[in-house]
Amino acid sequence: MTSQSETDRPILSLQGIKKHFGGVKALDGVDLDLYPGEVVALIGENGAGKSTAVKIMTGIYRPDAGRIFVAGEEVEVHDTRDAWRHGITAVHQETVMFEDLSVAENIFMGHLERRAGGFLDWKGMRRRAAEILRELESDIDADAAMNTLSVAQKHMVEIARALSHDSRVMILDEPTAALSQAEIHELYGIIRRWQAQGKAILYISHKFDEIFAIADRWTCFRDGAWVGQGRIADVTEDDLVRLMVGRSVAQLFPKPEVTIGEAVLEISGLGNAREFDGISFTLHKGEVLGFYGLVGAGRTEVMEAIFGLKPIDRGEMRMNGKPMPHGSPREVIDQGIVYVPEDRQHAGVILPMSIRDNLTLPLTRALAKNGVFLNDRAEQAVGNRFRERLSIKCASLDQKVSELSGGNQQKVVIGKWLATHPGVIILDEPTKGIDVGSKSAVHAFIAELVRDGLSVIMVSSELPELMGMSDRIIVMHQGHTVRELARADFDAETIVAAATGLGRLQEKRHA
């Protein structure tokens, strides 16, 4: 699987692929080659266009320009079935599941197997599903309904789904995001088996230990453009980081020196039926409190519960020393707590509305004449102030938010909340899917906020960012807070171990 494959033809090859969404360029002429028996790591920051490339290879998006070759022959991939026909299968980043259907049916949906006569071969599919799951060393019941599985189990079903195809090219888009350390090692085993079978594997991850453990080659995208490729053996981690970010890493995180004040938000013993339990922490004035965990560890759920979007069955919350009832978002906002959600496009901004309307959305009533009639002048003033303060790049405040780049959209969401003069701002994956420039703008802005006396909770899956910005980090695992570290004790290995459940011996034995 090494030297002579250099001379082999790639199984799958992308050439000059371009794709834009509205005014936003997601891919700007990228190349990618996958060879049999090799693992290629596709690296790049969030928003570099990795997932878009995956969706183009699997026919979910169609490219605006560029060519796709399978075994040297140019092909068009119109939909997922075309991709399967060419032997391309992907495990997507977000789990795409049918919650009401069984595990077996989820695995085979889209290519349900038939007996002679055209009717479905339920018995065969159930048996095959059980076989595949056993191959994955998973104890998931093939007949179980999808909605009874945990997040990690759903990921295993995704991988099982990919295995149900007889593919030449396997694409894994951040497959380990929700997996424990042991499960990750099982996955490595599976990937090595595929390699031995001569399959080509595209492995997308921004965790360097994984890339160096499993990949043979690398290809790097930055801001939708191809920036290089080569052999893993020839590079160091620092080389890759430089390629991804496009500059030196050291000055990325402008952690401000702020004196931490008294307790602002105190949470103790928070829990609900399915999502989290025993959540306790205290946030102080001027503090950046980081939350780390695997995808699906329950961080977002806790934040949404505090913000009044999810039920709370147990525990209490105090704001500025006074008990805070669990209310609706409106009441929480009035308490001075605001929330910048992870899903910016669906929960953060209202895309078809103007920048100004988005910026003043929680404020219209406060600005209105007699509390009822819209006050255009006041709204315009607020809009202008935050456009300037956050340097939102736009032609006019009347522009629709949908016309802005991801980074500028995020600035609109943050600006919307700052206009309400909050005391606590919760940022959920604030730099997910935005370009490098906007990213450091967001970091600089967080620093400015705490300097102004705000308290910040930052949920992030990017450990460098979290370690760079936080005063303390709380690690969550399976709905519990399992570890709390002060800045002096920050250590990537400890944090990751806690997040994958290794830090919690009594619960370590995973199912």
Partner: protein, 345 residues
């Protein structure tokens, strides 16, 4: 004629920008509606010498004033992304209640109050079930569409209430100065109130936000469920008012009164530029569309076309009003793509 929906709501903004935007908007959908209205009036004049008679014209406003009231509140509901199919049935139930009260000698002012109260209660029932149990508005209002009219059938069967006090008839049959029906004036007044409410208040802004993205609205602290309850209750109140006017004008109540109006009301809102998936629409637009439908059925009546044929026209207009902009946009995209010489994508 290019039929393009106003893609966004008229939204308030500083004077100069407001005017420019208004002009830009006027250059699109509302203008088209005015042109359609003029064409229909022209055809009507050509078809019948009785059309351009001032008396007849004002008389004809009674065809659409009651439906017009329903269109106003339906506009708010559709903008928030819901639909209310029970409005016509609320009219039947309210009418039955008013008829029952009248039969038992209740005085005119209380007939009006009672009618509006029952309508409001029906709307609040819809809104309450939708919000409390988190079920789709369409199923709930399909259910109450049967239930409300069904109650009317239980009470009346194949009978009718026909005894009303004389003063009650003035509402639906009386005029200002012998020309302008009270009904029409009430409609215009309500249209003005709704226009201010939707386009100039915080509530209107929040409705647009909800219709464009209910999740983001909720995440921004807007009480989405309260608003949904509010617009359904409002819809019931308007149906109650329409029922009072209808009963007063016709002087008789049967369980099949206003049957099928829900279709015309939704169709008018959509023709008026309200996006059926929510998030955009204007009161001036739907008022114009109400006139278009009114003049169309008046004209068809003048040339003796049976009423049920109007339902073919209504159904076709409903679909065409939505389909045309979609088809036009797709054709334009296809043309652009061909011009770029890129067959892909």
């Amino acid at each position: 004629m290019t039929l393009t929906h106003p893609s966004r709501p008229v939204r308030p903004m500083p004077k100069s920008a407001f005017e420019t935007r208004l002009l830009a908007l006027a250059a699109r959908w509302e203008t088209a509606l005015v042109v359609i209205l003029v064409v229909i009036c022209g055809l009507n004049t050509a078809a019948s010498p009785y059309f351009l008679d001032l008396h007849n014209l004002f008389d004809s406003t009674q065809i659409f004033s009651e439906k017009g009231l329903l269109v106003l509140s339906m506009t708010l509901i559709v903008i928030t992304g819901d639909i209310d199919l029970s409005v016509a049935s609320i009219i039947a139930l309210t009418g039955t209640f008013v008829g029952f009260l009248a039969l038992h000698g209740v005085a005119t002012p209380w007939l009006v109050v009672g009618g509006i109260a029952v309508g409001t209660a029906c709307g609040a029932f819809n809104g309450g079930v939708i919000v409390r149990f988190q079920v789709p508005a369409i199923v709930v209002t399909i259910g109450t569409m049967s239930l409300f009219r069904g109650i009317s059938y239980i009470v009346l069967g194949d009978q009718a209430y026909t005894r009303f006090p004389e003063s009650f008839a003035e509402l639906g049959q009386g005029t200002l100065g012998g020309y302008v029906p009270w009904e029409f004036l009430i409609y215009l007044a309500m249209a003005a109130v709704f226009a201010v409410f939707l386009h100039r208040t915080v509530f209107g802004r929040d409705l647009f936000a909800i219709g464009n993205n209910a999740q983001a609205a909720r995440y921004s602290g807007i009480r989405v469920q309260n608003y949904r309850f509010l617009v359904f209750t409002l819809s019931g109140a308007m149906a109650g008012l329409a029922a009072v006017l209808f009963t007063s004008r016709v002087g008789a109540v049967r369980p099949n009164m206003a049957q099928g109006w829900e279709l015309e009301v939704v169709a008018t809102a959509v023709l008026g530029g309200v996006a059926i998936m929510g998030g955009s629409g204007t009161i001036p637009g739907v008022v114009l569309a109400t006139f278009v439908f009114g003049m169309l059925s008046f004209g068809l009546g003048l040339i003796n076309v049976p009423g049920i044929i109007m339902s073919i026209v209504t159904g076709t207009l409903l679909i065409a009003a939505i389909a045309t902009p979609i088809v036009v946009r797709r054709l334009r995209l296809a043309l652009e793509r061909r011009r770029e010489g890129n067959p892909r994508g």
